[in-house]
Symmetry: C2
């Protein structure tokens, strides 16, 4: 086991009817700005629940944080927050709204342009933020990370701000989500786990079991959600799985990877593909190209997740990767670049970007431009 | 899934050599008191590591917090802390030292007698505390709970204070532990999980998997520790398992039980038996007497933990309980009251205490005096 530190101070407030507790959770002396995406929270009743919970106090609202939140949009929110003297933020939405709000929280305390904060990668000081989660996928409600895009240059980078003070997770908020968003959320959750699991074997049998526990859960609930996306217990498992997949709890003492995410971010930046959809395409290529490096864990994954214990090692590994792709296809997602009309031009651009920045991603820091090309070619 | 809140702000600092970071983790302006048990930390080098880490600052020391920490001893520590103007506590030891220090942390801010705090059950204000863990069992290093004894009346009650600000966990600190302490620590860890797992089935498949992950880990590492208690990776798994078994992470949205613990506490209070040793005796009785109530989870436990999937339900349940007892016996622990010379007199006294206090423990609040008698009789 590797040395590690773990500290996650976010309070989870989980369950039916918990949005009503929002008002009491925010200190009385704070000037609050609520941040939102599009108008879905107006249609599904979440906005009304939030407004009722805040009855008796004033607040500022910022609408329009888009999927893959852009620094261009966030600059407007930051200007509004400064003008209104905001010192507490509540993101009401999914990962994009929360990610964007983490950058707002940092930018409210500085005169720097927010893109410079993103390029620096980490903010030391932020105003406190909290979340009301309406989409389960990124884990942003219980971690300090954010991914911010810059549309004018088609760039997308990770940024670390503060952990939310609290996050309200009411599974009923997920009932009205489009099936494709749920599919992408399940894929995102699944690949978040693989990024922390599919590395060096034997580092922690306990963390392996916890990671596998989330994978089993996601695989078991996916068909149930397709049958009935308004079943409370199933949607609770989905919501909790997404949070626990990326809140530091399954990475204690183990090596992480994240190469699939770095390549996926480029596909989103260049083509606007939904994050979870990019991961469902790239992960198969990553596992195939790096199968020797990941052999031990791939065999464990094959046995414990997919029950593949017979046959030669190579065969078990290939079958486990195929089963993974079949799982994503069962969600209605694509697993090939060609299905999205993406080909050599994009592969060249991603290779060029990784090489120009001298990037080396992955557990072994060996996913450079040339390796990214090999992975993407395996996804064609 | 039930509604829940989760918040655990303790920072875990885990791994080889991490005691050296103690000095930097304590705010510079704090007046520190270190609390200790007996002298084992002098012999195994932990005291020297702590002293080196604090070089350049002054501190107060209190020695002699005993196993099953007593309010009688803690009153002395509280008096010393008040006299010295202490405003930061570092417990260097196992669960008993940490539990006792949680009561000290609360009592330093009040003139009340600490036993009144224990009887009230919960402290609102405490001075900050941190821990250097030297024994893995109770999870006290990452939760807010404590169990405090009063020797003059042979009473033992739970008390809730603050979460440690940080806890330093260096698995090498466990190398010199006596085999029996490790056995009791493994039993304690195992039963902590069962208290949160062996309840209503189907509340959370994810929490079930995480609980089972700890059980599998403990079962797998126990024989390895017997072979070599100085293997770093094995002792890391043990230390992490004990912490994660009782830090709120596996109880999200699920019913808990704790009847076995409440009965076990009485055995410690009346006979001085080590906590883990009492659990190894009582859990079999609890599971046998409440087998109908716990049928669904017992069958899941039988299948997933012990691979028992053939035969009639009753048979699988009985075999799972026997396998559990065999596991404790493989650790060198006893599983029968009679082996400890405990019989009817103690059973009557525990029945009397539960009945007099009108106590009703367990997931269904049905473990009253009469039920405690039935459970204890099943442990004879």
């Amino acid at each position: 086991m590797q040395n590690f530190t773990y500290r996650n101070p976010t309070e989870l407030v989980f369950g039916r009817g918990t949005i009503a507790r929002l008002g009491k959770l925010i200190p009385a002396d704070k000037r609050v700005m609520l941040t939102f995406g599009g108008g879905s929270v107006r249609r599904n009743g979440v906005y009304d629940q939030v407004a009722r919970a805040l009855e008796g106090r004033e607040w500022v609202e910022f609408w329009g944080i888009e999927a893959n939140p852009s620094v261009e949009t966030l600059r407007e929110a930051i200007a509004l927050g400064k003008q209104e003297g905001v010192d507490f933020l509540v993101a009401v939405g999914g990962g994009s709204v929360i990610d964007g709000t983490k950058l707002i929280a940092a930018a409210l305390l500085t005169d720097e342009d927010p893109w410079d904060l993103v390029l620096r990668g980490r903010a030391e000081r932020t105003v406190p933020l909290a979340t009301v989660l309406t989409m389960a996928a990124t884990g942003s409600e219980m971690n300090s990370g954010a991914v911010i895009s810059r549309y004018e240059t088609r760039e997308k980078y990770a940024f670390y701000g503060d952990y939310p003070r609290f996050s309200i997770l009411d599974p009923e908020c997920l009932y009205s989500l489009p099936a494709r968003q749920i599919a992408c959320g399940l894929a995102d959750t699944f690949v978040h786990v693989l990024e922390q699991y599919m590395t060096t074997p034997g580092q922690s049998r306990l963390m392996d079991r916890w990671a596998e526990g989330i994978l089993h859960t996601v695989i078991e609930i996916a068909p149930k959600i397709r049958e009935n996306p308004r079943d409370y217990d199933t949607m609770s498992e989905y919501m909790l799985s997404a949070t626990l997949a990326l809140n530091d709890m399954i990475r204690m003492g183990v090596t992480q990877d994240w190469a699939t995410h770095m390549i996926g971010h480029e596909l989103t930046a260049l083509h606007g593909l939904t994050h979870g959809a990019t991961l469902a395409i790239v992960i198969g290529g990553t596992l195939r190209v790096l199968r020797d490096q990941k052999r031990g864990k791939l065999l464990q994954y094959a046995a414990r997740i997919w029950g593949l214990t017979d046959g030669a090692e190579e065969e078990r590994i290939e079958r486990a990767i195929v089963r993974t792709e079949e799982f994503f296809r069962s969600l209605g997602l694509k697993t090939r670049l060609s299905e999205e009309g993406i080909g050599e031009e994009t592969i060249s651009e991603i290779e060029r970007r990784f090489t120009a920045a001298d990037d080396r991603f992955g557990e072994a820091q060996n996913v450079d431009g040339a390796m990214a090309r090999r992975i993407l070619e395996a996804c064609l």
